[in-house]
């Protein structure tokens, strides 16, 4: 179940956009009209009906994005992110829905905690947000949460993200009970006796620099275990933030033999390798770590062929002072909601490594399908969940340019091409980069998208 604050559906006409929804089989220059938040016409030359007209000439209009893996830090660390700031950041990133992980303080492991989050979301969420609940009480790995009650209270899925379910026996019980709740288990796969406090992928860079190393096999043995258990119990599982080639191979085998298993990958795992760690920048420290080039290539191949169906940001905000320390002392995690599309467009689509249509599908339809959410689509009668993209626009990533409360981005200082210009979520315009935005003082929002195009 997703929650957001009440909004009026907007009345807008997008004029002359390249409308791209590969699931609906659309890729053409068209107009799209929204009446009271519902798409009413997708055609050439629709009448404006007195609505606001957005000149979308030269821009791409696509189904808005869905992020299945976000840390909103609420409750407990509202200094790092709130539901308001996180959903506002998501709107600016082109998202119409996000799912938040339960590893907060307190952990989301009771219907009470979930209920209070839902209340807050109804007050302050800019876009619809759903919550996962923990698989085990306090994510302690010993007792199952009351998954039935949590599901009834609106938990979208279950996860102990941040830590693995170490016990195979308990994992099996969770899978068995998932058939009662009808909710997906989303798994953080890490064998901690192998990762052992490692900070960096076990490879040449860690060996040379002397970092405690976190080998690929620490992920892939857990992936293999959980896929075996899921197959045995005939249950569906979702594998969070995959990082290793061996994990991808295991997922592919499981899917080919009929298993109901899915996977997601983050922008940083698709773009970076452990070479990035040579900078000793705490903003390239994440769990799982970025790995070798062969891993990156395997992840990209899997994203292309659909073995990995979803791109997830694993948006993990951290306070500035906590990242302003030596690499080993810094917490794991980087932000990503506001840069995901741009960096993947710049690094993968522009060089011809990934089709734009595939990128858009994996950012939207893929994650919706996995988590059983309504798929954002461009068709008459569908609720308007749209993102308007300016592929030519250039943006420089700066610490003061984020709507997120945190700026621990691995892209600070980078110049990216391809920008989210406008986002419509659940029928309402939730982000409009064409208008100077009071929520973001000092931000350079161009008067027209053409202003900064090259």
């Amino acid at each position: 179940m997703l929650w957001s604050k009440e909004r009026q559906g907007d009345n807008v006409v997008f004029r002359g956009a390249r409308v791209l929804d590969s699931v609906e089989g659309i890729d053409a220059i068209l107009d799209v009209r929204i009446d009271n938040g519902v798409i009413t016409a997708v055609a050439e030359q629709v009448s404006a009906n007195g609505h606001r007209v957005v000149d979308a000439t030269g821009l791409v209009l696509a189904p808005a994005f869905v992020d299945p893996h976000v840390h909103l830090r609420t409750p407990g660390r509202e200094d790092e992110e709130t539901i308001a700031s996180g959903t506002s950041a998501a709107a600016a990133g082109g998202y119409c829905a996000i799912l938040a992980m339960p590893n907060t303080d307190p952990i989301v492991d009771s219907a009470d905690t979930l209920g209070s989050l839902a209340e807050t979301a109804k007050r302050e969420a800019e876009i619809p947000v759903g919550f996962l609940a923990a698989i085990t009480r306090g994510q302690g790995g010993e007792e199952l949460t009351e998954m039935g009650e949590l599901a009834d209270a609106g938990a979208v899925a279950f996860s102990d993200d941040g830590v693995p379910v170490a016990s195979a026996g308990l994992m099996r019980r969770a899978l068995q009970y998932a058939s009662v709740t009808g909710r997906l288990l989303a798994l953080h796969c890490e064998e901690t006796t192998l990762s052992r406090g490692g900070h960096v992928h076990e490879g040449a860079v860690a060996a040379e620099l002397g970092f405690a190393a976190y080998p690929s096999v620490a992920e892939s043995v857990m992936v293999e275990r959980d896929l075996s258990l899921a197959a045995y119990e005939e249950q569906q599982v979702h594998l969070l933030h995959l990082s290793a080639a061996e994990s991808v191979a295991a997922l592919r085998r499981a899917r080919e033999s009929g298993g109901r298993a899915s996977g997601e990958v983050t922008p940083h795992h698709l773009v970076l390798t452990d070479e990035a760690v040579r900078s000793l920048d705490p903003n390239v420290k994440m769990n799982p770590p970025v790995r070798a080039e062969r891993d990156r290539v395997a992840l990209l191949d899997a994203l292309r062929d659909g073995t990995i169906e979803a791109i997830a940001t694993d948006h993990a905000p951290h306070a500035r002072h906590e990242k302003d320390v030596p690499f080993e002392a810094a917490p794991f995690g980087v932000t990503g909601l506001e840069t995901a599309f741009s960096v993947l467009y710049t690094e993968l689509v522009e060089p011809g490594l990934l089709q734009l249509a595939t990128l858009l599908e994996r950012l939207s339809a893929g994650p919706s399908r996995i988590f059983g959410l309504e798929r954002p689509r461009i068709a008459a009668g569908a609720p308007a969940n749209l993102v308007l993209l300016d592929l030519g626009a250039v943006t420089r990533v700066t610490a003061d340019g984020f709507r997120s409360r945190s700026a621990n981005s691995w892209l600070l200082g980078r110049t990216l091409r391809g920008r989210v210009t406008m986002t419509v979520a659940a029928g309402a315009v939730v982000y409009d980069g064409r208008r100077l935005d009071g929520a973001r003082p000092g931000a350079e929002a161009p008067a027209s998208p053409a202003a900064e195009r090259e």
């Binding site: 076990e202 040449a204 860690a206 000793l280 302003d324 320390v325 080993e328």
Partner: protein, 328 residues
């Protein structure tokens, strides 16, 4: 050749002159190493005189910031600065505000307010010297950061080998023991590569990271081919029950301990200290005429004098000028 390749501080806008640091051996060229060892040799000559103090760095402030215990490194940096007439200030984490939870950044800012010319830092975490270089205007010398680098140790080891064994190029050194947790080994590997020394790593498989891409074996017999056997400290804290890198220290000693029987006559032995007598090194070897361990400590002083001098005055010109002054 006049090129200077010590680490430049590219985190600040360009401005004259670039601050020189010594953070990793990887930042040095062969020329830098030759120059530093040459300077050290000049200083060694000066220490043979009746008055051992040189006025060279008078008026400079050298801060020693030590977050880990150390005898050799901290004492030799302090003495090196004093022999060159610099003012010194030693800050240890125990008994300082670090005990009260002050972050490295804030400690660096505090010390930086005294305008030190050099900050020598030892810290258990990789990248700490870079952080201090970013937050202060001082030249930073890395005296050991985590398991990453200990560049002055590698330089003093090269100096010791050069003085005690002979020209470096073409020699063969076997490095024995816990390479995985050793910043000394990481610095040595790069230093040996730079000067053309062949290196073989020897030790238990779990303590030899195969991704290092170096020549390595678990067969202790391999040390017999080497000119020098360099023995690493077996770190007791790494060997606690349950770590299982090796089944026990006793078994380590039996398989990889350096005994007279495992050495060729005349084969030189080195150790960065502090050593565990009877664990990685048989006392008969440690106390034998072929042990270079005391020579390493003496080299530590003159090499650290050379490093302080080099980061502050910089470059071959300064060294030649000094040598000329010495001759005069």
């Amino acid at each position: 050749m006049n090129s200077i390749h010590l680490v430049r501080d590219d985190l600040r806008p360009p401005g004259p002159p670039p601050r020189r640091h010594l953070i990793s051996i990887a930042d040095l060229t062969r020329d830098d190493v030759d120059r530093l060892l040459g300077t050290a040799h000049v200083f060694e000559g000066s220490l043979a005189r009746h008055v051992k103090k040189l006025p060279t760095l008078k008026g400079y402030l050298v801060v020693n910031l030590f977050y880990e215990s150390s005898t050799r490194t901290s004492s030799s940096f302090e003495l090196a600065a004093k022999r060159l007439s610099a003012d010194t200030l030693t800050v240890k984490s125990v008994g300082s505000s670090v005990d009260k939870g002050e972050s490295l950044k804030d400690t660096a800012l505090t010390l930086g307010a005294y305008d030190p010319d050099v900050i020598v830092i030892r810290h258990p975490q990789i990248g700490s010297p870079q952080l201090v270089a970013r937050e202060t205007r001082a030249h930073v010398v890395n005296a050991g950061d985590g398991k990453h680098q200990h560049p002055t140790q590698a330089l003093l080891d090269l100096y010791t080998i050069q003085q005690q064994v002979g020209p470096l190029e073409g020699l063969h050194v076997a490095v024995v023991g816990d390479v995985l947790h050793s910043r000394v080994a990481r610095s040595l590997l790069q230093a040996f590569d730079l000067v053309g020394i062949r290196c073989t790593l020897v030790g238990p498989p779990a303590l030899l990271p195969r991704q290092l891409g170096a020549e390595m074996t678990s067969d202790i017999g391999a040390i017999r081919d080497a000119d020098v056997v360099y023995v690493l400290r077996m770190q007791n804290e790494r060997m606690q029950a349950g770590a299982n890198y090796v089944p026990s220290l006793r078994e380590y000693t039996a398989r990889w301990g350096i005994t007279p029987e495992r050495l060729r006559p005349g084969q030189k032995v080195m150790h960065p200290g502090p050593m565990n007598r009877g664990v990685e090194l048989d006392p008969r070897v440690a106390d034998s005429a072929d042990s270079l361990i005391e020579a390493q400590v003496r080299s530590g002083l003159v090499v650290r004098m050379a490093v302080l001098y080099d980061v502050l005055t910089g470059g071959p010109t300064g060294v030649r000028a000094l040598a000329a002054a010495e001759v005069a």
